[in-house]
Symmetry: C2
Subunit: 252 residues, 2 copies
């Protein structure tokens, strides 16, 4: 049973009502107040139980649908979706990714410098070849063991100097309000070169997962171009795919 407390919603708050309601429902789902498969109260019930309009209730439900927490069936009701594991790769940087997996992130620097873009970097970052970029190359560790080599290139305009990046590139971009909200990643299986093998302490010819990521701002401007090489024996990449049109589902 879902218990919605009318008094917890405030139209004076800065956050919109529909997000407040969404949070409320999300928390109750997380805290186990409602079992999976169980139905939510109908939109009309919710609406006048909480004293907000049905349209607003629907908006709240829609955000939760998009997160995959609920599923709707026309004519039947709105149900709590079965617990699903979150894909690890939700536009998280390496540090966040590792923490999600319960591992201790670490790194040591290979290179941190300013310079000019190579032709293909200029191309993918939509720069002219005289606009400076910053380069960050690190060996990334998980629980003290080398896991990946990461080489990031960022247009200098988005970061003051290379020293702004201490632990996390994304944290530094966040401060400048230049955190990417969208990314395109390319994954490929390959073999370790001699240099990579040495840095990752694996034999030459070991399996390597190469990930190339481009990060974009909301307006589409590219901010990040990162090429990584992950140890194939220690790392797997989880991703979620959906249909574009998310229509109401069926349920027996």
């Amino acid at each position: 049973m879902l218990t919605i407390v009318k008094e917890q919603l405030s139209s004076l708050s800065a956050t919109p009502l529909y997000l407040q309601l969404a949070d409320m429902i999300r928390n109750q789902i997380r805290d186990g107040g409602i079992r999976t498969g169980e139905a939510l109260p109908s939109e009309r019930e919710l609406s006048d139980a909480v004293g907000i309009s049905r349209v607003t209730v629907r908006r709240a439900i829609e955000t939760l649908l998009r997160e995959g927490l609920l599923s709707r069936r026309h004519g039947s009701g709105t149900y709590i979706a079965p617990r699903i594991e979150q894909p690890a790769a939700l536009l998280a940087g390496f540090s966040a990714d590792m923490r999600n997996r319960g591992l201790m992130p670490g790194s040591h620097w290979l290179d941190r410098s300013a310079g000019l873009p190579t032709p293909d970097e200029a191309m993918t970052l939509a720069l002219s070849i005289d606009q400076p970029v910053l380069r960050f190359a690190r060996v990334r560790m998980a629980d003290g063991e080398p896991l990946a080599i990461e080489r990031a290139v960022v247009p200098a305009q988005f970061l003051g100097s290379v020293d702004d990046v201490q632990d996390s590139l994304y944290a530094a971009l966040d401060l400048r309000e230049a955190r990417p909200v969208r990314g395109l990643q390319r994954l490929q299986a390959s073999l370790a070169t001699a240099a990579e093998a040495r840095l990752l302490s694996v034999p030459v010819g070991a399996a390597i997962l190469r990930i190339e990521r481009r990060g974009f701002l909301a307006n589409g401007m590219p901010v990040e171009f990162t090429r990584s090489a992950y140890r194939g024996d220690r790392y797997d990449f989880i991703t979620e795919v959906r249909e574009l049109r998310q229509e109401p589902g069926r349920q027996p």
Copy 2:
């Protein structure tokens, strides 16, 4: 300049108005009627140009925002997002994936049989060990060359018999209205075993991209468990990542 033809919208049509409008705008963007960066007419303008309410216009725009075609700025306007390539892996089966890449899909069967699930198959498909499953194993080809080995397992309840699957597994599932709408994929780099090397005509120890996919219905029921081995030298996997909260973007 965007030209919206009022007469093309019909409230009699089966598809809702907001989707009709979204299609209309989407087509004009694709056909290059409007340049990237350019602003759409304001919601109010659109609204009374087409003769539909602003709420409906907003719904149309929202679906295009989610597809990444538009970006909105509070107080400023709605803009065409810069052209972005579509991620190939949009819950497409192998055949559709290959056609997207401009390659001719093909396959030859290794196995097509009914049986009982192994313990880990039963686990991931949420079956008991006495519920029958169908197995499909194929070598997948692109333009006549072997590209991947694909082994799919589907609970028998979702397909009549193994003969229902001719070319495409997804087409067969579609007919029974059991097409997955959501999938979780796990990618890992690895090396070719002797058996794989023979089937894919690569040397033993070549780079292999292993993809494990679980497909789910809208209600969360698992319908598909597929393990594939792709040639690392011929295949790369493209994926898109987003922030959960998609808020309006900034633009200079």
